[in-house]
């Protein structure tokens, strides 16, 4: 069976395909995972959770102002079901300047107005907060927040 030329040809084809796909999958090893934009899809450097990071984080997010205090808003209210995509949307809006922030704020306000669970929210603030993750999560200590934009929730 192994000496059948047709079998040999089929094995060579399967072997070439397999090696090609494996080499492609391993090719991100030739990239520098530190370099921004070095990651790809589906051929990834899988850099997640690898880099040394301090526990202090500066991040932009939205808050809903309610009589009981500021409420966090779900990613769905930002326009996506994914928390990391919501973060990317805030970063993009921030990079786009006050107009983009205002647009995003208005979109969030429209979704909040239509959501009964947020009936007490009267205004949206987009802020950039700097928090120590461990202090925030373990002790509830919040860091400073800088206002980037705000808008009313119209009902």
């Amino acid at each position: 069976m192994a000496h059948d030329p047709a079998v040999t040809r089929a094995r060579i084809a399967a072997g070439v395909f397999s090696v090609g796909l494996l080499v492609a999958t391993l090719s991100p090893l030739a990239r520098d995972p530190k370099a921004r934009k070095s990651d790809g899809y589906p051929l990834s450097t899988f850099p997640m959770f690898a880099e040394k990071r301090a526990t202090k984080l500066t991040i932009t997010y939205a808050l809903g102002d309610a009589p009981s205090g500021a409420r966090t808003l779900t990613p769905a209210l930002v326009g996506t079901g994914e928390v990391l995509q919501a973060r990317a949307m805030f970063e993009t809006a921030l990079a786009g300047g006050p107009r983009r922030i205002a647009e995003l704020c208005a979109q969030i306000a429209t979704r909040v107005a239509a959501d009964g669970d947020y009936a007490d929210v009267t205004a949206i603030r987009i802020v950039t907060g700097t928090h120590d993750a461990v202090d925030y999560l373990i002790d509830g200590k919040h860091g400073p927040e800088k206002l980037r934009g705000q808008c009313e929730v119209k009902r």
Binding site: D4, V7, A10, R11, A14, G15, F17, S18, L21, L22, T25, L26, P28, P33, K34, D39, G40, Y41, P42, L43, S44, T45, F46, P47, M48, F49, A50, E51, K52, R53, A54, T55, L57, I59, Y61, T72, L73, T74, P75, V78, G79, T80, G81, E82, V83, L84, A86, R87, A88, M89, E91, T92, A93, G96, H131, A133, V134, Y136, L137, I138
Partner: protein
């Protein structure tokens, strides 16, 4: 070479095709609302990656949804094993395109990569020689069926090894002391807290008692760099799969990040005698359809 081409039952490869194809269908269908939301975000948020770099801007939402619908139809045919030589590659392209388009909005996800690689491998393998609506071939595949199963396992192992090497390249051996992992877990949960997502159930407990992160770090790296042991097959491979599954469960409990493909076990199907349970289900379905 003989090791790579050692034969395996055609039913096993076919069962893996059914499991992975069904999984991809359910996953994409369940993500369709999310897909619609991100596809509606507009040009300012579009950051193409991989194959979507051929686009000058986002597709009209209707076109994006049609491509998703076409991918789902192709996946149904893929699972049924209809016109596989054509349908297999097209279904793989459909999954590649749909998952890439979804990840082209500012955040590159790492949860779907292995599924896409497995789909590409299956697309060019004789995976529809059993459990298919099409008539089975009169003679077996000339290169056999075992190589395709080994390729699936090798791709799985490769992705884990790359992740392990990235940790050593970026964090050095210092990654093992647990601080890097602890900080990532803290940061990830902080992001969830301020962006309105659920915190991981065990995150605050372990962040308050950080000693365990050294153990978690050593185990994670050992599992990732030791992934090639899965190619040995048998008990070592199954033990590794259990370890990898437990690792992903830990990621859920500490970070609320769901790598659903490995968590459901489908990512490890090529390591297991899945032809038995899948064969029973196929037989049952056939008898129902006959009556």
């Amino acid at each position: 070479m003989n090791w790579f081409f050692a034969d395996a039952p055609r039913e096993r490869l076919a069962a893996v095709r059914i499991l992975i194809g069904t999984w991809a269908f359910v996953y994409l269908a369940a993500r369709s609302v999310e897909f619609f939301k991100v596809a509606s975000l507009g040009a300012p948020h579009f950051e193409p990656v991989g194959v979507t770099r051929i686009l000058g801007g986002p597709l009209p939402v209707s076109v994006a949804m049609i491509t998703l619908g076409a991918s789902l139809v192709l996946l149904v045919l893929f699972v049924l094993g209809v016109g596989y030589r054509v349908v297999g590659p097209l279904a793989a392209v459909g999954v590649l395109w749909s998952t890439t388009y979804r990840t082209s909005w500012g955040m590159v996800f790492h949860t779907d990569n292995l599924l896409v690689l497995h789909m590409i491998a299956l697309a060019f393998a004789p995976a529809a020689h059993a459990f298919a609506l099409a008539k089975p071939p009169t003679r077996p595949a000339r290169a056999g069926y075992g190589w395709a199963l080994k390729l699936l396992v090798a791709l799985t192992a490769a992705t884990y090894v790359i992740a392990g090497i990235a940790k050593l390249r970026l964090g050095g051996l210092g990654w093992l002391d647990g601080e890097v992992l602890r900080n990532h877990i803290a940061l990830d949960n902080l992001r969830k807290a301020v962006l309105g997502d659920w915190l991981a159930p065990l995150a605050t407990l372990f962040l308050a008692h950080p000693g365990a992160f050294t153990i978690f770090s050593v185990m994670s790296l050992a599992l990732e760099l030791g992934a090639p042991i899965a190619l040995v097959g048998g008990k070592p491979a199954r033990l590794w799969a259990v370890g990898a599954w437990s690792f992903h469960l830990g990621v859920v409990l500490l970070m609320n990040i769901w790598f659903v493909y490995p968590l459901t076990g489908v990512a490890f199907a090529a390591l297991l005698p899945v032809e038995r349970p899948v064969g029973r289900i196929v037989s049952r379905l056939r008898s129902i359809l006959r009556t």
